[in-house]
Symmetry: D2
Subunit: 340 residues, 4 copies
């Protein structure tokens, strides 16, 4: 097997995780860790590594040993860095969000498509065994009709300097929604409420209400100020309801055969109280699966599960949410980012 | 001690709890259980009771042995039943919500005030040891400035025929907010989003965003369709944050000395990770304390903790929320229900 | 339907629960609450009851309206009280343990059998929906071969004056073992370790190791001094393993399709990691089911699920455990309490 | 700063963790990973490492760049490997248990002491922030008199081929007991009960009752067959009680101001129900602290926290427990491993 030469760009918060997982992926050959602060890059690599540290993106992009890059720099730089990589003929894996705004995201997708290169989003959660099983249950129909979604992602988090809590945390929830929802169930409009009780200059607590096709309501609560950590998503359906608790390693998914049925004609409401099943899930680091998917999509010349368009759909939601924040919480229509 | 003669009106879902707790309150003497369905009233009393069952409200209100009534009939009947009781000179304890709408609620408050009678709301949760301690922490200043509130009340609930999930469940959260928030921190406007995924004809899932004085955001999530039961309220403050988990009997309150501080001048964000304290709380049935407060407010001729005006403030929020639901989630100003 | 006339004897800790549940059982007609302290009995009945309070056991036993008694007096008095009741021709429901020792227990069983009267143990936990389902899974074979049992029952408990923690708490665990274990799997010997770290004069912490047929090990940990409350039983089997957590109302039973298999011939150990199922269970007060079973066994002239002999088997274990405590933890053979 | 040259011996289950943490410790310079299966060693190091893999222990021990070794080979080989290392003048960090039996352990301690070399046990849990705080609370007197200890360590574990569940898992609990118990409170005797329900040829479930000075009872439950994972230790004291739940990252330690007091003279039992405090703990990988302590004890020429003698005390308990297993659970006196 020929390994795909990879460079990781960015040695900040997430970069070290990319480095570690790239090294553990047999299909990849890690060539560089690149950061403007080359001392930081060296520190991340440690004293025992054969991987090269560099401050020069040009050096990386000119090296024919590099076929692909994984970008973990701030969102504001994604357009520039990813465009340079794509123009140098490199496949690109990029941190969420795809870009600082929808227009820039579209540019990246177009560039990648024109050149026939893989552009993949590191929507990490989509690669957890829990979300893959959740996707199977929801898309596969076992859940029945989707009735509501509710996602809570709160903890004492780093107050970011460049983005608010929506842009920092909600991409996780929105990308999972994007991955699990069946075709035909799409965001129509979004309303956002936020507050900045510590005077940070941007929302630290936010609530998103997303109207999906047919009036289905999805809600996201993100919060940097909570002393307790919660990572829970509920997907309610007409046949089953699934609770995903990412902080409960012994029972991440609970599939309830419980619900409320309503027969409109007879005006009868009935309650179903059946068993709960917690499916067995492999323990696997999601980022390992991200790396494997990146490598495979390059080798097989196919779109990855979380391709550039999934990144655009998340950006479209974030932009609409930001506009709602400035419009006192009014529902804002979501631009449909459909086919190429 | 002279006992206060009491009649319970309504033998439906909540009435039996009022009967049981009234019988256990030494300051009260239960005289009647009154329900249009007298057989139902007899069944609630059981085969071993000396308490009288009756279908006649008149009989109850004409009996001079009755000084007070506890009303557990549907909200739509509160105006009529409570007015009759007040006009007959009886003190009134009434189930939440106070009335079917704000105008009716105001009528009741006026009638009670004109006649110098106690009008008390059965905002049961306000009488739990947990909420009393929460009130002490928030009002007493230990929490610092309130930064945000978040309440979740979801489970597989009875889909009511007469009210939506907001009017059914949110009064609990709103009455607790009302009881714990310090003077000067009041609801300014409310936005509500809801959905009815089972076609019940009214919202079964709803989210409330309440803007309080100074831009503080409070959020309430109520849901009849969730297979899991959650009853959690977080009150975030500049000094402490409290989590109230009503379903964790061994640790209902957790007081975290954790938070995020921001010094605007130096643009410094600092994180405080201190201990968590779970205060010891008595185990006490809240409804017992409701009964004791009702009796004491009658004896001492004083307003109870949850007086008619607290009921009006909750009604004002519910009405504004309902209007927001019909106005596509726009923020609707909350009528201030202040002085007499 | 003719109701069975019942008297409750003993108005202490447990008596009020018997009174409440007897009143709610249509097949029973509660006639008396009898306690030497008649004021206490009156207080338990409250101000609104038509049930008679009395201090005279003779009065109760001489009353032909009484066909059955439920005894909730201290264990030391069970022989005397229950014998008097049986000799007066009354059916008997008796609190655990059946009697103060095995010899007295045998006397009671013999008396009841000679007179053809029901003698039933109030082994309350055996009547919970969780234990009934556990019994079905274990006895019905779904669990496979029983590999081990482990029960933990610890909390800050009342330090009893007359009995140690073994006699106070372990009857619950032992009676459940008795109810669920399949025929042929019986206690052979028991070793007990205890300690009295507060100088109470009797063991406040104790561990029981019970050797069952074929070397299967069952363990019980009981403790009056623990600040946290735990009520968990694990029954490990070759096909399934069940965890019963009595303090988790939303998931009392968890049935794991997980385990370790060993094929002796090939010396292969294999691990099975399958799904977990939490069966739907009705919420029902166990004591209500106890009353129903008592009434039904009287009417149908049959032995109840927890008959006198089940009480003897528990007593035999407790006696052997007490002897082990005095013999420095040595295994003591358990007397087999088999056929009549 | 001169770094201490280190070699890791053994690339099996635990070796990779030693490699990773040694590389992250600034005071150490990892020179070799040594394993008879050099391919396995290479695989552990991965494709990007400058650390040398070797199958030759001699090569490692003859290299003057190596001043210390960390041994993660099977217990049966500890005597041989560690003796060779000590005789070559290397400091030794060794996996628990210290050796295959007490006699071999003593030999190692003597060899190290004669040569003035550090011999340290990798009792990893003793270096967690939770156990360090637990130690402070217990040894520092805040807990009052120790009343009982109870440790549960159960999960679906690897059925080891060379040792039973006691020797595999209980060293963790016993080494923590050793680290936290105050001077003067020592194991006197131990009784062990075990069973092998899958026919593995050794105990897979075991219970240890340890009698400490003054009759205090400590209990350990270890189990390879449990489908659920529990890692809980309770240390009950006259003033406080601490619960350590290693699987609850948000609240590993809970310090309860609850308990039962007994005044012998007046025969009064009183109950104290105070607050619970969950102290803030740093999140730190324990093995990092192990490495730091190893390096510091070498540099400062002092005994480490978990020195060879702590390893002997654990071995003495394990040997006595094994003898108890063969003597049908009788209490076996624990050899006091005191002064040098």
């Amino acid at each position: 097997m020929r390994r795909i030469g990879l460079a990781v760009i960015g040695a900040g918060y997430w970069g070290p995780n990319l480095v570690r997982n790239a090294q553990a992926t047999p299909e990849l050959r890690l060539e560089y860790l690149c950061d403007l602060d080359v001392a930081r890059a060296r520190q991340v690599l440690g004293d025992y590594s054969t991987v090269r540290a560099t401050a020069s993106l040009d050096e990386v992009l000119e090296d024919p040993a590099v076929q692909a890059v994984a970008i973990a720099t701030p969102a504001a730089t994604h357009l520039k860095v990813a465009t340079a990589a794509l123009e140098a003929g490199k496949h690109v894996l990029v941190e969420k969000p795809l870009a600082a705004n929808l227009a820039e995201g579209r540019q990246l997708v177009e560039t990648a498509e024109q050149r026939g290169l893989v552009l993949m989003l590191d929507h990490t959660y989509c690669y957890t065994p829990a979300v893959r099983e959740l996707r199977r249950i929801v898309r596969g129909g076992e859940l029945g009709d989707v009735q509501y979604l509710d996602s809570v992602r709160i903890n004492l988090g780093l107050v970011q300097r460049d983005v608010d809590v929506l842009w920092d945390l909600a991409p996780h929830d929105l990308s999972v929604f994007d991955a699990i929802l069946p075709a035909g169930l799409e965001p129509v409009a979004v309303a956002a409420h936020g507050s900045d009780p510590i005077g940070a200059g941007r929302a630290c607590v936010a609530h998103l209400s997303i109207e999906l096709t047919g009036g289905v309501l999805a809600h996201v609560h993100v919060n940097w100020l909570s002393p307790t950590k919660i990572r829970t998503m509920v997907v309610g359906g007409s046949a089953k309801t699934v609770v995903w608790d990412d902080l409960n390693p012994s029972q991440r998914l609970s599939v309830y055969d419980r619900g409320v049925d309503h027969q409109r004609e007879q005006a009868i409401v009935s309650y179903r109280i059946g068993d709960m099943v917690a499916p067995a899930l492999r323990e696997q680091e999601a980022l390992r699966a991200v790396m494997a998917e990146f490598a495979e999509s390059i080798t097989q010349r196919r779109a990855p599960l979380t391709d550039g368009r999934s990144g655009l759909r998340v950006l479209a939601l974030l932009e609409a949410a930001s506009r709602s924040l400035t419009e006192n919480g009014a529902f804002v229509a979501v631009r449909q980012e459909i086919a190429a």
